[in-house]
Symmetry: C2
């Protein structure tokens, strides 16, 4: 007769999200990624300015619970035409009263004006396909560049700069479609979208979209309010009935929101980030038998947290 | 004044899920992956025997709608010790009355006996860590092997065999943790799990788990019933309250279920699969500006469909 053991399935992933006891010896010798992050020095964290945030409040859920999604906008020099439009749209309260219209499993959740008739603010910029890529520029702080030897099926080189995953080719640098990244819906090329129609990735990184769509940010808190929505049953995961759409109460820039918490990211040029990335590629904490010996860049999510008060 | 254009965001992904009109000329010149799949010959599809399926019926959702998840079990010679246990557990109706206990965003949904006290059937096999890997064996039908040049951060070689994504190293072959794959929860090593505690991937492929956990199958229908569940608020995404768990009504082998549909997969050695994989790596259908020039193996999901009656 087998007696069922107490399961602690995948316990090493406490690493990623919650402090659970680890064997002191092993933890000291081979700290888990989360332990490396937790022990990073204060000076290795970089504050994210409230003006770099976009705060989206959805209608409360069926139990009346508030649903807030916090997005960090893409920093200069990437995608700034679209980011500028998004700032104007938020300032004009353009998204208030629009909705989440699409949830396609293992792909994206998308929001904007379902009627497709709402007038846009004036003076939005129009971008071109070439703007998906930023021409190569001095990258002294580039890490994980070619030299580190981690292969990538999608780009000659990839790495992190100012807290963001980037890929590099002859034509320049471009942001990467990892889980939680936010991009700009568009019509067939040459349309590049305005930024009024946005989506976030809720599945395996769809990196074939890199260089084909503008990426303008990433969800840093509350993605579960999007990723756990019922999947739409229409083509491409669009909701077929108006009642299935989730109303958007408001979208504001962070500096226009009174109660937005302060966030910070782990400096991607810090020693702790390098150790964290190495540990993500070579898990030796107690749960693991075999370290992978590598990691794809979307499996090295940049640590972001609320700043302690 | 800008008039909003009709958005067809990410329309090329009609490719993946739904037939939308495409320009006939472009479609003929550069068919989308879905079009290649749709035009595959009947002889390129391989039937999946009902005995290779595991059918999990969850309690109906809040609107009374049935929720069925269909899993295809891993074929020989991979993970057969655990698969054998799963067959015994299903035959013993062991999962009936258990529950979905965990939903961790961008990671896994997990099910089994939340009480951790339910007696297991007798004569379950005990496996070892070495059984996560299958020693190299004749692979004349191996495709996407080293020669094709697509790099992978996690293995020396990778490809498809009998419809499954596999990686290869000196020690042999092993299944890959792509979206929707089903694995065996376990305690700290040397425990390898019995198969009673199962999870499926609902986020970016956690390939650091490859060779560290047994993979025993994949969800081929109904994954939205798992991936859209509310995320658990406890450590590791476990549900904190019993009422949050989703009851499992029954889990049966496919040949014990009267109304299970017939499924088939696109032969991964067929010409159509090769063309499909190439198109996944080099999207040239109308939406795209720039083909990626590569694809990671988890972005080439093996086409599986209900067999036409």
């Amino acid at each position: 007769m087998h007696q069922m053991k107490r399961y602690l399935p995948l316990v090493a992933f406490a690493a990623l999200c919650a402090p659970l006891p680890l064997l002191a010896q092993d933890a000291k010798t081979h700290p888990a990624p989360s332990e490396i992050v937790a022990s990073a020095k204060a000076g290795e964290w970089v504050a994210i300015a409230p003006s770099e945030l976009l705060v989206m409040d959805l209608a409360p859920d069926s139990k009346g619970k508030a649903r807030r999604v916090v997005i960090q906008l893409m920093p200069k020099p990437f995608s700034q035409g679209w980011v500028g439009n998004i700032r104007k749209l938020a300032a004009a309260r353009w998204w208030d009263g629009t909705s989440i219209n699409r949830a396609q499993d293992n792909y994206v959740v998308q929001w904007g004006d379902a009627t497709e008739k709402k007038t846009l603010p004036e003076a939005l910029a129009t971008m071109e396909a070439k703007d998906y890529v930023t021409p190569d520029w001095p990258s002294k702080d580039w890490i994980f560049a070619r030299a580190d030897g981690r292969p990538d099926a999608y780009a000659g080189a990839h790495g992190f700069y100012v807290g963001w995953p980037l890929a590099q080719g002859r034509e320049g640098l471009w942001p990467i479609h990892c889980y939680g990244m936010v991009g700009v819906g568009r019509n067939l090329a040459p349309d590049t979208g305005t930024g009024a129609e946005l989506y976030t990735v809720i599945g395996h990184a769809p990196r074939h979209l890199d260089r084909n769509i503008a990426l303008v940010g990433r969800v840093i808190e509350g993605i579960e309010h999007l990723s756990s929505l019922p999947r739409g049953t229409g083509a491409l995961g669009f909701y077929e009935k108006e009642t299935e759409r989730v109303p958007i109460l408001s979208v504001r820039l962070g500096d226009a929101v009174r109660d937005v918490p302060a966030f910070e990211y782990l400096d991607t040029n810090s020693a702790s980030f390098a150790a964290y990335a190495d540990a993500r590629a070579n898990r030796r904490d107690p749960f693991f038998n075999v370290p992978a010996g590598g990691a794809d860049i979307c499996n090295i999510p940049v640590p972001i947290r609320r700043k302690a008060k």
